[in-house]
Symmetry: C2
Subunit: 612 residues, 2 copies
């Protein structure tokens, strides 16, 4: 498009942003207006996208990291003919797809944004997938606000993209000088941003973000820069074009006071339709067929760490399914994800110790149809908690594997122990949480994750545990296994992972004391096997849960879920890690925490001895 | 000390690191050996510290961000005469203070480390407190591993320290080239680190980390650099001094195979005692006396957002207590923390949108005796989850305030809604979790937090809620309020925060239907008021919990805690946010989520109508 038209388009995007926020009575028009020219030139002359085929593998990706500028994004969609003016004005109302911050309820939105500092890490994942997996030329454009440049996750992404020479990634930084509260740290010091980003091996271009010709040239320069990603750092005015709000403090995140006057000042309503360039014809290389799956088989009675079984299983899943990719946070030797690397090095990605980028890359890759397995220590997924939370809003399909769970790791001490992971992952919307106790179970669940939608979390153990099940046993998600049961059981022991062998040992000893105990292996912590728990509760009247996790939000709470529909609830005792662990051997740790067989026996004696 | 002595001291630190790991049978001797010369010169010639008075306000701080190099730290303590050789060899055993990663069980350790990338952000907090609050010249030295430079939190800290010109902060980067799995991203490219760090406005010095004279000069240069922090980037050899492990892959995190031979190769056991320089005499300016507290008073019947009440209350607490500081993540206008800024600008710190640095700075400040209040959106504390988890291991006293909790925020949509915060914060060891429903309650709890040890979390609401309590009402932590009760109650409604008014409205309607309902305001989610819940359960037999949070790990699970000692459990129904929210008005949100008065009434009818 010609520059005069693009200038008009910029004004249209401003007018529509003002109108959408005015209709909603809330939203961020001023943050939209600063970036309107940047987006007008992008969509008019550079973006390659088929709005009728959002899954086209040759499409570019456009990520609004500054998700609060959603009025601008929706105005872009209107100008592209993707949504009607009528729909634009449904912004932020119940039933509308046009939410306050973009979500994939709109088919052109790949990832939900709104928690700042996330767009670029997602973009890195998309760009990596396009370049290294799909081998297509599609480009990733990420619109970033200046305030969010303070987030460390941005710098994890700058580092990763610079190191990986992602020339197909362009960051567009809208430096409008004003954050939510007032001036940003660097205000209009474009060089402050540019020299930091250049230090991370990016190409940088500083421009006036309202100079159409300069913007157009900058995009052209980004497209022709090879061997490194490009950051366009644009000086802009927040609220550009409307004197009452332009470059003024206190104008963040609210509709304009007099939208009619503002629209007039911006030259009135326009209805330019932009013919966005289509994507090139590409042939995606992602295999979609599934080959035979040959999972590892472990011999009952052997002692095998579940992390080892995971590693062997994920390598086998990768052999069966060419769409599976593995992402490591520089602990692949510990999590055993490196077993995948040995078999499928071309689908293995190293993110070093940068867990936010690690999880975000997986979210980005799955938008292009890949199936990611992401592994680090269970404790260190806390580093990426916000990304996991947002991934649920992105409707992402992710497989997360947290190793070194619980006090059972032993001497390394509490900093390395995942003791809050079940609580955090259970509370993620629509998540699946699995905690296997033996190697064959781990292998089966590792394979099952690939077919499960949403955020799936598998918790593995550092040390060896006895193989309890034959390799042929099946473990449906949402199921459980009754490992001990008689007609006369007086208590049910509910365990998972490393506490299953402890519960079995306890049951053996309790049987000698004429306290027959049922034992349930609750490997599916969410969804929980309500049926089995209710049956056991009716039969035994008493439940003891035992878990290598803090008492809040883990296995004990999951068990209660089966009884929160108003039915009678069994008597409950909960054994969990209530102390602050120190360094000790694994066996000492279980004893000190009160989650070993001795503790279970003592609790069962007391519970059964109490009033019925 | 002379350089020959320092060289000997470096060898002693290596030998002792090897011995400690050998005695433990685990640990990280090779990661200790690379930094031994760096630490020898620091303790011999530059560190100012009184090991007999670890709380001396003039002391320097030494933070081992690479916490796995704990054998080196403990060897330093031995050389300083702080621990005996006998204690050194208790490393990683049950009962020893010398844990696998350092914790403040040792009086000279300010913060627990072991989750990488955290030391520098803590150091920023300590350096800010020394410079801006205590006005003392003490210095902060942070030993950082090269692998952890990938963490975004490091760059949040580099940005903050450079911007704040923290000349009293020195980062010592031990570039030993080898991470856990193999070579780091930048291997021995010292300039890759230096140019990034310089771009963030630090002074940088590149040295050979085994050249004693160069190290000594670098520390001197750091001490004499004014107006900016200094990073010493040192090229080192992992496992330095023992040929079988030096600069070899696969030697991470395990004791040496032949420690005796290694010790001989290092020149044998030494017992140098280092006279560490004492701190200067300083007069701390931190006020320790408490003045009268004049909390805001709100009129019952008025409608006031609890976030507003928090803002007014924290400002009042700051007036009463001169040791209170406030830390903002560029949302002080939303959280209302800026009310504190207006009264006490000298004790208000802006961290922009960098939640990891935000929380870490508070941890750092409390090591110097300050009492921090940290506020951001409840949702965005997920960004700092690992820092909060580690803060508990640091035995830190922190007050965290999460605003904009739950679907009740309305149109902004799910990215801005704290719906996992109660689960995450309850699962933190020793935490306190508070969720007030009205303004006077909020004010009282805001003041109470300052006196509560450990991690305290207060959840506030964006929109107005009715003032239910008089300003004189007291709200002990661990308590609750029974807002409706009769002898004939057939069900108990347990609510907190924004669901309390809904529960009251529901009770009013249920009373008309001859279903008298008890209402409990469970403002203390952890610890929970087990007594009141048990009394209500015995009286009514049925509990309905209703919360603006996902069903996992929140209020509903907290209530169950009162019944996990084997006693009879009442029938339970749990109302919570089970859907993925979209944009809608606050009232629509509560209705859509099924946590409004209508939903409570329907649940109560069904529960009471069911079998007794």
């Amino acid at each position: 498009m010609r520059h005069e038209q693009l200038s008009e388009l910029g004004q249209q995007l401003r007018v529509d942003s003002v109108r959408a926020a005015a209709a909603a009575g809330s939203g961020h028009p001023t943050s939209s207006m600063s970036a309107a020219d940047l987006m007008a030139v992008l969509m008019g002359n550079h973006l390659r996208y088929d709005f009728e085929k959002p899954d086209h593998p040759g499409n570019d990706h456009l990520v609004f990291s500054k998700g609060h500028a959603s009025p601008l994004l929706y105005s872009v969609y209107k100008a592209a003919g993707a949504i009607s003016d009528e729909e634009l004005l449904t912004f932020r109302t119940l039933g509308s797809r046009l939410e306050g911050h973009p979500t994939p309820r709109l088919p052109w939105v790949d990832v939900a944004t709104g928690s700042l500092g996330q767009g670029l890490p997602y973009g890195v994942g998309m760009a990596l997938a396009a370049q290294r997996l799909d081998h297509v030329a599609g480009r990733v454009w990420v619109l970033i606000g200046d305030s969010e440049m303070a987030e460390g996750s941005e710098w994890e992404a700058f580092e990763q993209a610079g190191f990986d020479r992602l020339e197909n990634l362009t960051a567009v930084i809208d430096v409008n000088r004003l954050g939510q509260r007032g001036p940003t740290r660097h205000a209009w010091d474009l060089d402050a941003y540019a020299r930091r980003i250049r230090a991370f091996d990016w190409h940088t271009i500083e421009i006036d973000g309202h100079d159409i010709a300069a913007i157009d040239r900058a995009y052209g320069e980004a497209l022709s820069t090879i061997g490194r990603p490009t950051a366009i750092i644009a000086r802009t005015l927040k609220g550009r074009g409307v004197a009452s709000v332009e470059n003024r403090e206190g104008m963040h995140g609210k509709p304009l006071k007099d939208p009619e006057e503002a629209i007039a000042e911006l030259g009135g309503i326009r209805n330019l339709a932009v013919p966005v360039l289509g994507p090139p014809t590409v042939t995606p290389t992602r295999p979609t067929s599934e080959g035979p799956l040959s999972l590892p088989r472990f011999n009952p009675g052997d002692t095998v760490p579940t992390r080892d079984a995971f590693g062997e299983a994920v390598a086998a899943v990768g052999t069966s399914r060419g769409d599976v990719v593995a992402l490591d946070g520089e602990v692949g030797d510990s999590t055993r994800l490196e077993y995948f690397q040995k078999e499928h090095p071309e689908r293995y990605f190293e993110f070093y110790i940068a867990e936010q980028q690690l999880v975000a890359a997986a979210v980005g890759m799955q938008t292009r149809g890949w199936t990611p397995y992401v592994a680090t220590f269970a404790a260190f997924f806390t580093r990426a908690h916000d990304f996991i939370r947002m991934a649920a809003i992105s409707r992402a399909d992710l497989n997360l594997i947290g190793s070194h769970a619980g006090v059972a790791i032993g001497e390394d001490g509490p900093s390395q122990m995942g003791l809050e992971d079940l609580a955090a992952l259970r509370a993620v919307h629509g998540s699946t949480v699995l905690y296997p106790c033996d190697a064959n179970q781990t292998a089966q669940l590792t394979a099952a994750m690939a077919r499960e939608p949403g955020i799936c979390y598998l918790r593995t153990t550092r040390g060896g545990t006895p193989v309890l099940y034959p390799p042929t046993e099946e473990f449906p998600i949402g199921g459980s296994k009754v490992l001990r049961a008689t007609e006369d059981d007086r208590v049910t022991l509910v365990a998972a992972g490393v506490t299953v062998p402890e519960a079995l040992a306890a049951a053996d000893r309790l049987a000698e004391e004429s306290i027959p105990a049922r034992v349930i292996d609750l490997y599916s912590v969410k969804p929980v096997d309500a049926g089995a728990l209710r049956t056991a509760a009716e039969a035994t009247g008493r439940l003891i849960t035992v878990e290598d996790h803090h008492p809040e939000g883990g296995l004990g709470d999951a068990v209660v879920d089966a009884f929160t529909d108003g039915r009678p609830v069994p008597r409950l005792v909960r054994l969990a890690v209530r102390t602050m662990p120190v360094s000790a051997t694994p066996a000492e740790q279980l004893r000190e925490a009160g989650i070993d067989a001795d503790a279970i026996v003592a609790a069962a004696r007391e519970l059964v001895g109490g009033p019925a």
